[in-house]
Subunit: 404 residues, 2 copies
């Protein structure tokens, strides 16, 4: 049968699910397309520095895995993940974790997708920080929750506002999603006091916490306080990632979940992609098995610390006299900048791109009314020389915009 | 704060989503645990033969990718997939496919998950074959559809029954899910006449088709008829996989979707895991780029054909005098066996395992009332000698069960 023998329906036969209407292309992704012009210095990306990828260690691991265990590495495997990798994950975490509670995921983004499937009903409530990780909003949205932003300051979640918003009975929020360490987008971290208060409050309220920690190992001078999950493992799901300490292109992350939720996350994982690539899991297990991360991650920390310092120095110099505010992160990949009153980061972007520099306007990261004056700046992929040129260009764009 | 400072809630704080109640461990997975005792000859698995995995070609490709393109291979990448791989997929398909319509997925299982998210609303209707792939039922279920089985015979879907079940208006089925080639679990294929009739009927009814084709390349003597998608690309989503022609442990599959659905599948993909591993995509693109599959896949076909012939010969010999029926597939990995009247494959399994042989009872593959007499037998992972011993043991178990 040739296609032109077919009836020619006047409209497409496809009926999209209601949730598809709420799914939209990432604003950041669209912005990145604009800013990927040649010659643009970009502080917009969320990528780790490729200089930090241990290419040689991976090459050695690949060769060894395929030589010694090739057929098993290339076969279907358990949905839970490769046992030695689950054990290595459990062993590196700063609280007592049974490897049976570790689920290997296809990047920690998949952890968010599985959490959403298992915990979110249509019209149920989910609480997030202000602002929060855009990818989490995208992962939760298809399950059609009401996402509610909890007030947050430089130390993290405002616990009093959280308590007002939890709700009770059927209306109780399903969970609080929070990134306590060097948060994306702001780079801020939760203080020890705030963590203690948050965990106590959430436990008293019966509010589960989903703790996302992709950046926690990237501290500059001292490790961040203990994860929330370490303080109440039964009340928390913990999401981790190899993307920032090894490389994102292998797409490997993990979930640590209490026994009351783990089996459903596992079933959701099985339905989603059967298992994460066994070959990649063996590569990572091979690379990290002899304390490699203890030697490798400090080199990332040192690089990112010096890059951050360079950006802060340029900001201090070039933004002088402008009513611009920014924070000074203790780790991670991002800092957060706030433009003078009356300015709008989305409106500033085209002028900045004209001057050769790009950033992500902060508005995309807000679940509720955005602060239009904010922007996220990554300090990890541009060189120090590019940072110098790029921050100067950004300052010039702000001055010109202000003069309009 | 120590955990014992926390309030001790009497119940878990976790409230599971309604869909989680419908998610259950794979019956097959549970059966496989029972049958993984040492010494058991298993016809139960759905695994390809690891003998067919091109380990050396992968080792060469890994080394080359990391040497020539390591940093890009290990970095975050586009959600659509690696452009040369999308082009290679489009080029190998037997109809005109624009690479822009190809979405690389984390195994074709993820294709099912994305299709479910984008096309299924709670309580909407989805049509499947009788029986059908269990993994598809698991992928669709979290979106809470009513899954309805369409009558099927040895040539595939019963088109008259399909037309009765499509429905209209808001009740119209969202799609028909079908595996036309060497179907899992039965091994059967749709005839040319049935394909033509199905595509014409679906187009006239405005019923979209989701065509799953993981086994189509594994034909024994002649290629199967053209895919349904080739006959009406706008009305079909096509799912393909590298798991059976290269190796499943890399978790790479693909979707070909019409422009009216592709953008939403892409957004769902981005939210689910950002992208499939770029390293793996480059490995596969490197391995297949010089016609490798044209040389490699015939070796898989030859192996599986001889394994299938061995199992058929043993069945003919050992089941003589028993009222057992089985089919003779033209390709793929499975055949389908039906026990004598009054027997039940689930009840037979423990006796078979006692005799050292395992299979999957067919009941798990039915979306509606199961045929309890059926079982799926894989002929690809056991050796010919194991097939001889295993089929004899199975025949003995049937005889004994019948004598009870």
């Amino acid at each position: 049968m040739k296609p032109n023998d077919l009836p020619n329906p006047t409209s497409t036969p496809w009926t999209l699910a209601r949730r598809a209407e709420r799914m939209n292309p990432s604003v950041i992704r669209e912005i990145l397309k604009v800013t990927e012009k040649p010659g643009i210095i970009s502080f917009a990306g969320g990528l780790p520095s490729p200089k930090t990828f241990p290419v040689t260690a991976f090459a050695d691991a690949c060769a060894k895995v395929l030589r010694e265990d090739g057929q098993a590495a290339l076969q279907y495997a358990a949905s839970e993940g490769y046992a030695p990798l689950r054990e290595a994950v459990a062993a590196q975490l700063p609280w007592a974790v049974d490897p049976a509670q570790v689920l290997i995921t296809t990047g920690s983004q998949q952890g968010l997708d599985l959490v959403a499937k298992v915990l979110i009903d249509t019209d149920s409530r989910v609480l997030v920080e202000t602002p929060t990780y855009l990818g989490a909003l995208q992962a939760f949205t298809p399950m059609e929750p009401h996402i509610e932003a909890v007030a947050s300051d430089d130390e993290g979640i405002d616990v009093a506002d959280l308590e007002r918003r939890v709700g009770s009975g059927a209306d109780r929020a399903r969970f609080l999603y929070v990134l306590p360490n060097f948060q994306n987008p702001t780079g801020r971290s939760m203080s020890e006091a705030r963590r203690a208060a948050l965990v106590a409050s959430a436990a008293a309220l019966g509010l589960p916490i989903v703790e996302d920690n992709p950046y926690g190992d990237l501290w500059f001078d001292q490790p961040p306080p203990l994860p929330l999950s370490a303080r109440n493992p039964e009340g928390c799901i913990y999401l981790g990632s190899f993307s920032k300490v090894l490389a994102p292109g292998l797409r490997l992350g993990f979930i640590v979940a209490p026994p009351s939720v783990y089996p459903k996350l596992l079933q959701a994982k099985q339905a989603a992609d059967l298992h994460s690539p066994g070959f990649n899991q063996r590569m990572v297990a091979e690379v990290i098995k002899d304390g490699f991360l203890d030697r490798h991650v400090p080199t990332i920390r040192a690089l990112y610390k010096s890059q951050c310092a360079a950006m802060l120095a340029c900001l201090a110099q070039d933004m002088a006299g402008l009513d611009v505010q920014w924070n000074s992160p203790d780790g991670g990949m991002f800092l957060w900048l706030r433009l003078p009153e009356g300015m709008n980061a989305v409106e500033l972007l085209p002028r900045a791109v004209d001057k050769g520099v790009a950033f992500v306007p902060g508005a995309a990261f807000f679940a509720d009314a955005p602060d239009e004056r904010t922007m996220r700046l990554s300090f990890v992929t541009a060189s120090v020389e590019q940072i110098r040129i790029g921050i100067a260009a950004l300052a010039l764009a702000i001055r010109e915009q202000q003069g309009n």
